[in-house]
Symmetry: C3
């Protein structure tokens, strides 16, 4: 993905724009364009470090830093009290991973190969886990929407923290599961091919610098959300559900598509479903805990996010039972994504 590297030029441009007090909408767009290659760089840095650290710690690093960009953006949104953006970008990451990434992978792969096969068993394990995780995450919201909305804030904070503790415990247990008791089941995705590209020192340096730059650009981005939604007439949900997840995941997404083009549909699916699981089991609880520093955020999705999440997870389960994919299946996933995006756009 060499083309991403050239996008690093947007970092200095965004700094200049900030310095000359350009309009917040322009800074928003520039920071989006800067974060895309930085997220890719951070991913590469993590991958390289995991090379030196051995498979166990490497797997843990890959697993935990995989969605670091979204975590950083959401942290700054949280600080600004933009709860709706934070929650919709959690939902949007899952939706984007399953519908957009899997859809694009199946379409791209399906144009090259007539039918692509994947290991049904392995994908089913992940997609069943995703079903559990989404149901667990959505139950407090589903309960909340059927009660008098005025009594929400009082008792549901406690429930959110409880759910967050359950989720992060399952995340810890699932890491133990993959790296200890059942490591044979889970080794396919992050096997390293070839040699390390960078030295350990260089890798750590790249990781640290890209993290710092992402943090700065995220603050630019978050400050620009309100002005851009107002000036363009976009709904806040659209920014959270569609835009932020795409920005944070372009690098990761392109890897999935590359894997599909190499006829490794298993890996493409594992990246997409694995990343979704991480969002729900790790990123969402961490954000709930972090929110306690500022104003406690309850993990109550709105009805649109719930509908989109549940539809997505049903589709993920249906796709994984299949064991096969073709271009038409890819297009259908993309079509559902388009319809969801259009619905959020007109909200």
């Amino acid at each position: 993905m060499k083309v991403l590297k050239y996008m690093l030029i947007f970092i200095p441009i965004s700094f200049v724009a900030k310095f000359i007090n350009a309009s917040p909408s322009i800074i928003f767009i520039l920071s989006c364009l800067s974060i895309i290659p930085l997220a890719g760089l951070m991913g590469e840095g993590t991958e390289e470090i995991s090379f030196y650290s051995g498979p166990k710690i490497g797997g843990f690093l890959n697993g935990t830093f995989g969605n670091a960009t979204e975590l950083i953006i959401s942290f700054f949104a949280l600080k600004e009290g933009l709860f709706e953006i934070v929650k919709s970008s959690i939902a949007g990451s899952v939706i984007g991973n399953i519908l957009l990434v899997v859809g694009a992978s199946m379409l791209a792969g399906g144009l090259k190969y007539k039918t692509q096969y994947f290991n049904q068993k392995v994908v089913e394990v992940s997609s069943t886990m995703l079903l559990f995780a989404v149901i667990g995450l959505c139950i407090p919201a589903l309960f909340t929407h059927t009660v008098n909305p005025n009594m929400l804030n009082t008792r549901y904070e406690g429930l959110s923290i409880f759910v967050a503790i359950v989720m992060i415990s399952i995340y810890a247990l699932s890491l133990f599961f993959s790296f200890s008791t059942h490591k044979d089941l889970c080794s396919s995705v992050h096997e390293h091919e070839g040699n390390a590209k960078w030295s350990l020192k260089k890798s750590i340096l790249i990781l640290v610098i890209s993290t710092i730059l992402i943090a700065i650009e995220s603050e630019f981005l978050v400050t620009g959300i309100e002005p851009i939604t107002e000036s363009l007439g976009w709904s806040e949900f659209f920014v959270g559900i569609i835009l932020i997840p795409i920005i944070g995941n372009v690098a990761e997404h392109s890897t999935a598509i590359v894997m599909a083009l190499k006829n490794k549909m298993d890996v493409a699916l594992e990246i997409a479903i694995g990343s979704s699981l991480q969002i729900i089991l790790f990123v969402a609880p961490v954000l709930i805990f972090l929110s306690l520093i500022f104003t406690p955020m309850s993990i109550v999705f709105n009805e649109f996010e719930l509908i989109a999440l549940i539809a997505t997870v049903l589709i993920a389960n249906s796709v994984s039972h299949d064991g096969e994919s073709n271009w038409l299946e890819g297009i259908q996933l993309l079509a559902v994504y388009l319809i969801i995006a259009a619905s959020f756009f007109i909200l």
Copy 2:
């Protein structure tokens, strides 16, 4: 299905009834009884023409004219502004195909054979596609019902047209998929056995005449809907969800049951799921486009239709994963249909 032929006698009777100004309820019933054999005749005509036109055009004709009766009835209902009837007959066709037709096929076949097997892979492809299509079709409605109902009509028309374009594009792509890139996967249903029964000329003549007669009877039927719902105390939804789909599909349904009795459960399932797909991907978008001539209809199902549609598609997916069927499974599908019908009846 020779017994259907005798029902053609209801056509002249319905004309006489109209001529002598009989009560609209009687004309409604007579037009229902007339459409049943006409729909069968139109199906046969299409089948015969596809014999002469070769598999590609034949498959296209069969695919596109398969739900012509419902399209014609809905067109006249649309003209009269009976949007609720149109939308509920779209939902009712899918529900009837999956629960009533598959249920009756599994029951009939299961009474003859202890366990019937079908090619899981092929049926799963269709039922996954059905899941996508139903979710895509339902998302605007699901979003709508959670927003202030007063803001519906303004922005949702545009969304309906967008969804219609997406759906019909997928329909076109799926025809290309079945007749070009993956024709090996999709050949089982419409293979011709034996020779043509009629000459090409006679087939076209029958097709044209039956289409014209269906159009006339549909107008009789639509005019009678309001009087009959009033005089019998039926809900409009009951007519749309249960009655119209049955009338338009008796001939097709009987084919599915005949196939089940021949132990060709694959074909029976493909007829039912394929017909449902056609309704969603072709009939529904065409009706939305046609409605632009009169008053634009937004594709927003009511909550009952949504519940029944989503329940149906979950059942279709569950049944197809199985790969087997027996009489008890058939009865269970019929039981869910009965409960849905009873619920709409008392609305």
Copy 3:
């Protein structure tokens, strides 16, 4: 499960407490503790009698008396007009069977064996049947919640009776299915190992005495529900969804876990799914019929129960497609149960 026998001591203690007019909360707790071993004893009695009566009648007895404890408790709750408790304990039994029992079985079994395999086909048949049953049971409720809530009571009683007749007919047909046309499919669960422990006379005596004692203790329990919910601040739903189903099923649940520890995951799953099916197809309709003696109860679950039921049945279907289980899957099921319980607790 010898430890359960020692709990029989709570029966005389509860009688003494009632006699000395102890606080209703204490009597509630003592009656709960008494019912647990009595339910186990009744189960054993039924099992022993089925030994003497041959497989057909034995299977019928086991099937029909399997949830007798819940039926008795619900009968007394019905008599007191505690409809919400009755309905939530129906929903809670299904939820508890699938999430708590299957979860605990998979966790216990998974700690002993790395991966446990089960016959996917057999479990899929039951879980598909469970999906149908839950959808059928929930449709009237789903319809009801979207209509004006004031018109509920008038017409929905008739619908409830209709649904009850459909459900109990399917129950009768499914018994015919298992013991007549497809008995080869369904023999795995209740095969007897070894010899009878008790004589037929003693078995009948134990069954009769335990049934009488359960009836008395159930009346104690029901009388204590209101005082205990008030004094502890628990919601009525929590008692119905979580507490009553656990009390009525401890003995049965422990059998499932014992089977999982013997690496017979098929049997563990069949016990849990079979018991859920029985609740929906037999216990729920019988309670609706019984309610006609007192005040007719409509089978309209509230939104929380619906959400929890539908989530549970989707999870059951996902788990059964898998064909494998491990400790992490068990923990995930328990986590969803915990989140549901916590949500009902704070209601």
